[in-house]
Symmetry: C2
């Protein structure tokens, strides 16, 4: 970045929450990063200032047409005292891929990375210390032009906020129950499914509430064309171990290319465990369960890292996985990734960036 980031520090720092009371996404640090875009200027005025409200005209495009997107990654305070971002390069890349699909102008990858490292560094005392806690980094881009009409905005606001978050598994890693949804569709090829577009999440709220009322933690979507191949969980990618093969749906346009998904596949290949990115029908899963070869099922995502699945429910069938217990490989993957994140294992793959 040529002209650097202008920093205005807060004069009234907030009290920091106790590590033990942290939730997810409800408390924010002292500062935020902001940068504007105008068609005639490009991206300009990179700045950090006190965390505070945005002032938006009621006609601002983002409020009407959802031309908005985000990323989500975490900074971890290692046992060695260092603060590490996990695979920020992959998040930068995905940010610009999403931007393209939404007609949002790309941002120089170095500027994006710098916005994260500079902000986290400034608010580094906000990175919690307790086991399993972290600082969640939320970069967001919104269409900022005030006009009504369906066309790309001519101005945008890129901002980054930080939220200290509690341990996902504060009460231990418990396998969850997931509803395989035969009614609602998250995305189809040709749509927004592979982008981290705000719009995808709007579509998932109703199916998810529906599932919660039925006692399920999440929804596993089936593909919108055949209604038989599994897609993703809305906030996680899904993986299955059938016999000795680990299987996850391919990145064919309708599911999000998860960074944790990518990390898991890399580890499996390193470890010599067969891992396939291929279509899996719900029928294949039911059949494997019947034959006793459905060994493990787990979700992968930034929030939970690895989330063991104890049961899939599909059309009145309870598909119980590994007697509802955490699988051996599930646990091994979780431990391996968390070790890199907290610096207790060497980062041999260039996955972390020290702030």
């Amino acid at each position: 970045m040529n002209d650097g980031i202008r920093v205005t520090k807060t004069t009234s720092p907030k009290p920091k929450p106790k590590d033990s009371t942290l939730a997810f996404g409800t408390e924010f640090t002292d500062h935020m990063f902001l940068m504007d875009y105008r068609d005639d200027k490009g991206w300009y005025d990179a700045r950090i200032g006190p965390y505070g409200p945005l002032t938006l005209d009621p006609a601002t495009a983002v409020l009407h047409y959802a031309q908005s997107m985000f990323e989500g990654l975490k900074a971890f305070r290692g046992t060695d005292g260092e603060i590490r971002l996990f695979r920020p390069d992959k998040h930068v890349q995905r940010l610009n891929n999403t931007a393209k699909r939404l007609c949002i102008p790309a941002i120089d990858p170095e500027v994006v990375l710098e916005s994260w490292t500079t902000l986290v560094d400034l608010d580094r005392d906000w990175v919690p210390r307790a086991v399993g806690t972290s600082l969640y980094v939320r970069p967001t881009i919104i269409a900022s032009e005030p006009f009504l009409g369906v066309r790309p905005s001519k101005s945008y606001l890129y901002f980054v906020i930080l939220s200290p978050v509690g341990a996902y598994y504060a009460e231990g890693m418990n396998p969850v129950k997931i509803l395989v949804d035969a009614k609602y569709v998250r995305a189809v090829p040709g749509g927004l499914g592979e982008a981290k577009a705000s719009a995808n999440y709007a579509a998932s709220l109703y199916p998810q509430e529906d599932a919660k009322h039925g006692g399920f933690t999440q929804v596993l979507y089936l593909d919108g064309v055949h209604r038989k191949y599994i897609e993703e969980v809305g906030t996680m990618n899904l993986m299955l171990r059938i016999g000795d093969e680990v299987i996850t749906p391919p990145l064919a346009g309708s599911i999000l290319p998860g960074v944790t998904r990518d990390s898991v596949l890399a580890l499996l290949r390193e470890w010599g465990i067969p891992a396939s990115e291929r279509q899996v029908s719900i029928d294949e899963i039911v059949e494997a369960a019947g034959k006793g070869t459905l060994e493990e099922v787990f979700g992968t995502g930034t929030a939970a890292v690895i989330s063991p699945v104890g049961e899939l429910f599909y059309k009145d069938q309870h598909i119980v996985v590994n007697e509802g217990r955490i699988g051996e490989l599930t646990q091994r993957l979780y431990d391996a990734i968390v070790a890199v994140q907290y610096g207790t294992a060497p980062d041999t793959r260039g996955w972390t960036v020290v702030v």
Copy 2:
């Protein structure tokens, strides 16, 4: 509404634009309507105040997860001096249908209607006078809770803004060229397609820009499952006259139930013209064009009322409609609806509400 609408008038009214310079959605009137929702209070504090910016925490849910929606309708200044809203009851109904799909709490239909009539009445001098002009009414609901996480918000803001808009056909009604898109998908059954969700518009930006670069005005989407049945145009429903039959795709979950679409179907039925809501494949259209029975094609929507289509372009085939001229029925439908809107024909169907 029990406790009425609290009105705070502006102390600095803006100069009104000339009717001849009006565009669409770029200028706004002196006032706006606002109402809040909280889980523990329901919808409360209905108020009108000066048009001005909203103050939103950067973590506000709408900016991240697109839990937002809108409606769009028009107020017309009749040749008799009266100001009329066109079919507001249909828009109120659709507003609450959309809200349900997005987990947004419903609003009392009477309160919604009152928010429109009261605001338009207060800013009635802003309703332009020139032929073809109108006052566009934009009700919007956004998730207003500041938190990160994929779940419905616990608070919402409903607001209404008004924009005086120019004549859509200021330079005469010219048939447009439309690209039949074989690559991108707008929505599938099980998704958000039948809701007026902001999210649907985010998905349409890229395909639309793509089409514009090719010299087309709009995109006609095909269904996301078979990729052969026509859906809608993103901002309009589509109708075809093949021989003596008028055909439009059915409301089967993936297209918006347009109010103009409904009005056109009602008129056709009154006039004894066969009108079918059924699936039409692009192949059927190509075949009809080849046989010379593709008589007319037009879009229906609030912005243009009726938009004649002169050409459909599909996979290197130019499907020219009625030699690129406006069809007889297309013109008749336009004239009939516009006459009701401006009060030059009697409203025999209860379609207008005088403000």
